[in-house]
């Protein structure tokens, strides 16, 4: 069973994406965080409570105050070691080439997914074995 972390400020996406993930993995845990600041706090809390990092993070790019790329830059050594087994996907409505290039250049990012998430994608990528294989 995977644990998914969804970082997105869009209320509707906040309903749609967990629903899609649950369609594929009804038992999975989907955590929803609406801003990058809250995400940083969340990592800190989880680390402090010695709770394992989520298996997959879907990180929106276009977020108020701090965008998805900025969040990745803000990650501390601790955060990175905390997230070392986590697949981080940028999940965005963006179709801008510059965003794609940033994704390519960042070794911490597993890949880019255009919104919306599809059940197909979840199924293919995160069947029990494939999570480990992809990492």
């Amino acid at each position: 069973m995977e644990r998914f972390l969804l970082i997105d400020d869009d209320d509707i996406i906040g309903i749609v994406h967990p629903a899609i993930i649950h369609q594929v993995f009804p038992e999975s845990e989907v955590i929803l965080i609406k801003s990058c600041m809250e995400a940083l706090d969340y990592f800190k809390e989880q680390l402090a409570a010695n709770i394992p990092a989520p298996d997959v993070i879907f990180l929106d790019i276009n977020l108020p105050k701090m965008n998805g790329f900025e969040l990745l830059e803000q990650l501390s050594e601790k955060d990175l070691s905390f997230l070392k087994h986590t697949q981080i996907y940028m999940l965005s409505s963006s179709i801008d080439q510059r965003d794609m290039a940033k994704v390519e250049a960042n070794k911490n990012i597993t890949g880019f997914i255009g919104k919306p998430l599809t059940m197909d994608f979840i199924r293919k990528k995160f069947s029990d074995n494939s999570v480990q294989e992809n990492k």
Partner: protein, 704 residues
């Protein structure tokens, strides 16, 4: 038959014979006397002839006079011979030549002779005067007979010559006789003739010398005239050619035979090119017989035109009569062509500098002289008096911040450290104080030794292009900013447009598998509806933004109270929430405003106040206060909502800025408000405190 003669007869015959012998001997005596006389005459003749011969042989006038004096003594057999020669004009020296007697006495004697010379007794011949001693006074040195004559040879020269015989010392003296007079007259004539001859000869000799000299001059002149490279024309007083030299024939192509008797203008003048005024000057000067120097265009025999520099001089004889013209002509076609070419180049150069508006100056370091072209003079607004102190004025005119640098850069060329520099500086024009941007060049010219002999420079007023460039940079910066904004705009708009669409896409995929679950279907359909509204809202905002930027203000008299109420009603209808909404007015409800713009701004403000209300309190309020005065209108909207952090207050008006994670908007609303406010000349002012509330104020000028 023989007749016997008587005594008487014989006696008579004897007496007759006796008489005849007597007669015969007297005849014989007469014959002897005649013979003596003849001998005397012959001797006299011989003496006169000898004098004549000797006098003719004399080479100088002094020798001649000596001979005259000797001859007087010889011919008249006198003791003293005197000649006194005087010349009024002083051309000849006065001379006293004597022989015999005591020299010391002659001057006194001469005075007495002059006195006597006016009282001659041989009055028949005006030139000859002879006197008897008796006429002389008791005290006279002259105690004897004499012969004296004063003769005027010509207007200038006069001679007095005398023969003096001492009575006491000359026993055979018989007094003056007709014979003396005759001899003296003949001798006088002879002296006059000989003297005249000598004088004429002397004059002739002098004339000959003069002639010889002028002949040499003439030879020289004719040599020059013949051989000079200049053409020489000698014409008569009518201008008809008498002679031309070789050079003229070479230049014009006409031979002397062809042009003799013709006037030069008949065959040399060009029909077209010479200035009419010059030709008139030429013919006027010839008419007035004046010296003239002129350049005209002539045509040679082969049709080739040539520039002819003419010097013409009229020639007058000794009596001032005009006899000839002499003309010197020089073919200056090469010079003239060169000069014309230079003038052309110069005028082209002037034209180029004039149309390029380049100021040019030149400075000679040795003389300190400087030259400026008109463009530079105009640029510096110099008057004629100021041109000489041009450089000082120029230095003064350089902008104070650029002056030291510009001058020291120029000095590098003046000192010879650099050959050329290009530099820029500003000028403040001395008269109008206008600012000018200058692009300048300074360059030096050096002699073979490398010394700077001349400094030249150009000054170009590049103010226009500089200002243009400045404007261009400004415009470019603005464009880059706009471009960046546009990029951001497209990025954000595409995000804001796609987000709801992509949500709908996700919802549709969920709907597809949840059709049997009515609750989920309803939920998803509701969410699709919200997404569609959001999409619509975004599109409207973009349209509002675009409408503001592209349309002009449309002013209408609107009832602001009604407008605000309607906006609130519409918003409330959408949100369905309880809010204490209040509008109060100071001043009239009616205001001249652009309805679209004011309603867009107010809709944004009021909807923000509602959207970001504090959900933790029970009495959210939105109060609108309108203060309408003659100066303008002030609309204040106060709420007790979430408030905006200090940090974000400055950013809320930026494009696509969203302050809160609870923000629904696109981030374009307040940006549009600011744009509109700028467009209508208004001002927005925001105060806010997190958790307390926000007051936003719109100040609008009175619009007419």
């Amino acid at each position: 038959m023989k007749e016997e003669l008587s005594y008487d007869e014989l006696y008579a015959k004897y007496a007759d014979l006796q008489l005849r012998v007597t007669r015969f001997s007297s005849t014989e005596q007469e014959l002897i006397n005649a013979q003596d006389l003849l001998d005397q005459e012959l001797l006299l003749y011989k003496k006169l002839s000898k004098f004549n011969t000797d006098a003719l042989k004399t080479n100088s006038i002094d020798e001649f006079f000596k001979k005259v004096v000797e001859s007087i003594i010889d011919i008249f057999e006198t003791e003293i011979g005197i000649i006194h020669y005087t010349s009024k004009s002083g051309v000849f020296e006065d001379k006293l030549v004597t022989e015999g007697g005591q020299k010391s006495d002659f001057k006194k004697l001469l005075g007495e002779l002059y006195d006597l010379s006016v009282q001659g007794d041989f009055g028949q011949d005006s030139n000859v005067h002879a006197f008897n001693a008796e006429k002389i006074s008791e005290n006279s040195l002259i105690d004897s007979c004499l012969v004296s004559s004063k003769i005027e040879i010509n207007e200038d020269v006069q001679i007095l010559f005398s023969a003096v015989i001492s009575k006491s010392k000359s026993p055979i003296y018989n007094g003056l006789s007709d014979r003396h007079r005759t001899i003296f007259s003949v001798f006088t004539q002879q002296v006059i003739a000989l003297l005249s001859n000598i004088l004429t000869l002397k004059e002739n000799k002098e004339q000959m010398i003069l002639i010889e000299q002028s002949e040499i001059e003439l030879k020289k002149l004719s040599f020059i005239a013949t051989n000079t490279k200049s053409g020489v024309i000698i014409s008569d007083n009518q201008g008809k050619i008498e002679w031309v030299n070789e050079s003229f024939q070479t230049t014009s192509g006409y031979s002397l035979e062809e042009v003799k008797g013709k006037k030069p203008k008949e065959f040399l003048q060009s029909k077209v090119s010479t200035n009419k005024d010059t030709l008139k000057q030429l013919s006027d000067s010839l008419g007035r017989k004046e010296n003239l120097e002129v350049t005209i265009l002539n045509v040679a025999k082969n049709g080739k035109p040539y520039y002819n520099h003419l010097e013409i001089a009229p020639i007058f004889d000794d009596n001032g009569k005009h006899t000839n013209f002499i003309a010197l002509q020089k073919d200056i076609t090469a010079e003239e062509t060169y000069k014309n070419e230079l003038l052309k180049i110069n005028s082209r150069f002037e034209l180029i500098t004039a149309s390029s508006q380049i100021g040019i100056w030149e400075w000679n370091p040795e003389t300190g002289e400087s030259i400026y072209n008109n463009i530079l003079i105009d640029l510096l607004q110099l008057s004629n008096e100021e041109i000489n102190s041009g450089y000082d004025i120029f230095k003064e005119a350089i902008h104070p911040l650029d002056r030291a640098r510009a001058i020291s850069e120029s000095d590098l060329v003046v000192n010879g450290e650099k050959q050329i520099i290009n530099h820029d500086y500003r000028l403040i024009l001395p008269k109008t104080k206008e600012l000018r941007y200058i692009q300048a060049m300074v360059v030096s010219e050096r002699d073979q030794l490398g010394n700077v002999v001349r400094i030249m420079g150009s000054v170009k007023d590049v103010t226009q292009s500089w200002l243009f460039e400045e404007k261009l940079i400004e415009k470019n910066t603005e464009l880059q900013k706009i471009n960046g904004e546009l990029d951001q705009f497209v990025y954000s708009v595409s995000h804001d447009l796609r987000s709801p669409l992509l949500s709908i896409k996700g919802l549709l995929s969920l709907l597809d598998i949840s059709l049997k679950n009515e609750v989920l279907v309803k939920q998803y359909l509701g969410l699709i509806g919200t997404s569609v509204n959001r999409l619509d809202e975004t599109i409207i905002e973009i349209l509002d933004y675009s409408k503001n930027s592209r349309t002009e203000l449309v002013l209408d008299e609107i009832d602001l109270y009604v407008l605000i109420s309607e906006i609130y009603e519409d918003l409330l209808h959408v949100s369905e929430i309880e809010i204490d909404f209040k509008i109060d007015f100071e001043g009239s409800h009616a205001i001249l405003l652009d309805k679209f713009r004011i309603s867009t701004v107010l809709k944004n403000f009021i909807s923000n106040a509602i959207k970001y209300r504090n959900k933790n309190i029970s009495n959210p309020f939105v109060h609108v206060h309108v203060h309408n005065t003659d100066d303008g209108v002030e609309i204040t909207i106060t709420d007790n909502g979430e408030g905006i952090s200090q940090e974000n207050q400055a950013k809320v008006f930026d494009m696509f800025f969203r302050a809160s994670s609870s923000s629904f908007g696109t981030g374009i609303g307040l940006y549009i408000c600011k744009e509109i406010s700028t467009k209508i000349g208004g001002n927005i002012n925001l105060t806010s405190e997190l958790g307390v509330g926000t007051t936003i104020r719109l100040l609008l000028p009175k619009l007419n």
